[in-house]
């Protein structure tokens, strides 16, 4: 039984190491209120993607606590964890599409598994989601026939197919041209405004999502070195923080 929480996601003192010499994450804590967009910035290899995987319980932390909708995901049994995961959409950095089935089937698969929708309705939902990311005519293509940018958009469509309350997005605009990246950012902004979707965005383009970002945190050396609103962090004394927030670093 979980307590009602106004936090969509809450991380408390999270620590993760893949080798004894180096901690990827060291005592990381932050929370994302419902309906807000949280941007996680940092240079490559600072543990941003690991943070997202820990939230989804795809990895286990060495220490710390992860709450989704007030539920401690590390304490859940398999069934309860799956119920919690249904509330969360996850766009992987490399999209992670199922390569043995078509794009359309990639999107239909979670709908068939988790809803009682008839096939006609599933086809309609899939069509809408594909159109939303500009892949309306590519449903029959296999993932191997898609470009990197198309895979990214397809991965986002699949992450959205169950209409999740929470979205974890790992680099939504990497590999995309500016126009398509802008369209994806527009879509994410709409999700926040119309559906009240809470999001954690790992991005190297904070300027592109600035309009609807509520909070930014900067990871460096496995620790959160800055956490605040975009305006606050732009005035930071830390040069790395300023550069990352202004989108000038590691692009």
């Amino acid at each position: 039984m979980s307590l009602p929480s106004n936090q969509a996601i809450c991380l408390e003192h999270l620590t993760k190491a893949f080798s004894p010499e180096r901690k990827v994450l060291d005592d990381v804590s932050f929370s994302v209120p419902r309906g807000e967009v949280f941007c996680l910035l940092g240079k490559s290899g600072t543990g941003k993607s690991v943070t997202l995987k820990l939230i989804m319980a795809l990895l286990r932390p060495d220490e710390g606590k992860i709450l989704i909708d007030g539920e401690d995901v590390l304490a859940l049994d398999t069934h309860a964890l799956q119920e919690t995961r249904k509330k969360v959409g996850f766009l992987f950095q490399n999209a992670a599409l199922f390569d043995s089935i078509s794009l359309r089937e990639n999107l239909a698969f979670p709908l068939r598994r988790h809803t009682a929708k008839p096939e006609a309705e599933i086809a309609e939902v899939v069509k809408q989601k594909l159109e939303a990311v500009g892949l309306g005519n590519d449903g029959d293509k296999m993932p191997s026939d898609l470009s990197g940018g198309m895979k990214k958009r397809a991965g986002l469509a699949r992450a959205l197919v169950l209409d999740p309350q929470i979205l974890l997005v790992d680099e939504p605009s990497s590999g995309l041209d500016r126009i398509t990246a802008g369209e994806i950012h527009e879509l994410l902004g709409e999700l926040k405004e119309k559906n009240g979707t809470s999001m954690i965005l790992v991005t190297h383009d904070p300027a592109g999502v600035r309009r609807f970002t509520d909070q930014i945190a900067v990871l460096d050396g496995g620790r959160i070195v800055a956490n605040g609103t975009p305006d606050e962090l732009e005035q930071s004394d830390n040069e790395l923080v300023r550069e990352l927030v202004q989108g000038g670093q590691d692009r």
């Binding site: 989804m56 992670a96 390569d99 698969f109 598994r113």
Partner: protein, 256 residues
Amino acid sequence: MTLFSTLGSSVEKMGEVGVFTGRVLRASIKRPFEWQEIVQQIHEVGVRSLPLIAASGVALGVVMSFHTRSSMVRFGAESMIPAVLAIAIFREIGPLVAGLLLAGRVGAGIGAQIAGMRVTEQIDALEALAIDSFKYLVVTRVLACIIALPVLTTVIDFAGLIGGFLSENAISDTSFRYFFNRAFASLDWTDYIQPTLKTTAFGLIIGSISSYLGYTATQGATGVGRASTGSVVYSSLVLILTNILLVKFTEFWFPQ
């Protein structure tokens, strides 16, 4: 020191496969059951292996008939050829060869496919979509191997007999009825049931080892290659060793 560490690592791996197999067996009796995927995998493992199994069975029967004939003729016991062929194929050759063929065709496929999904984060994607990847990918494939192998063994047994008949018919003009009457007159149900049931253990070995190597794969394309090759090598090896134990076990509990 190196020998000991290699030995230690092998024992550790065997222990891990044992634990993995135990997890498969526990998960296979827990709801929800992935019926649709199990049927799909039985098609993949069983139906798609049929041409290879049937062709190999016929070829095996022909070759065995050549060898049996050359020995039998020496003792003037040509009339025993169908019986000797039937007993050899049903009791030992059929189950063992079917198991080894499946380890080659399906073991490599399972290892490579699951490893490919692991290194491209597709297994993580399944989990993120609230699907139990272990039940969906591993349990279904292991069950498919357990179910399909006895059926494939039956096919290779009969294909072997047909091969033997074709060979005998070509050499000595033996009639179909005579050949099969002589073959089945020498066979008892225990010659079929026990060796065929034994192949469920072979199916468990092939499915578990291949799935384990795929599910725990690392290091990108190299890892996929290792999982694929390892699946065939270790499945075949463990299958052959287990066969010795099972034959002794069967002889002890069900003496002829």
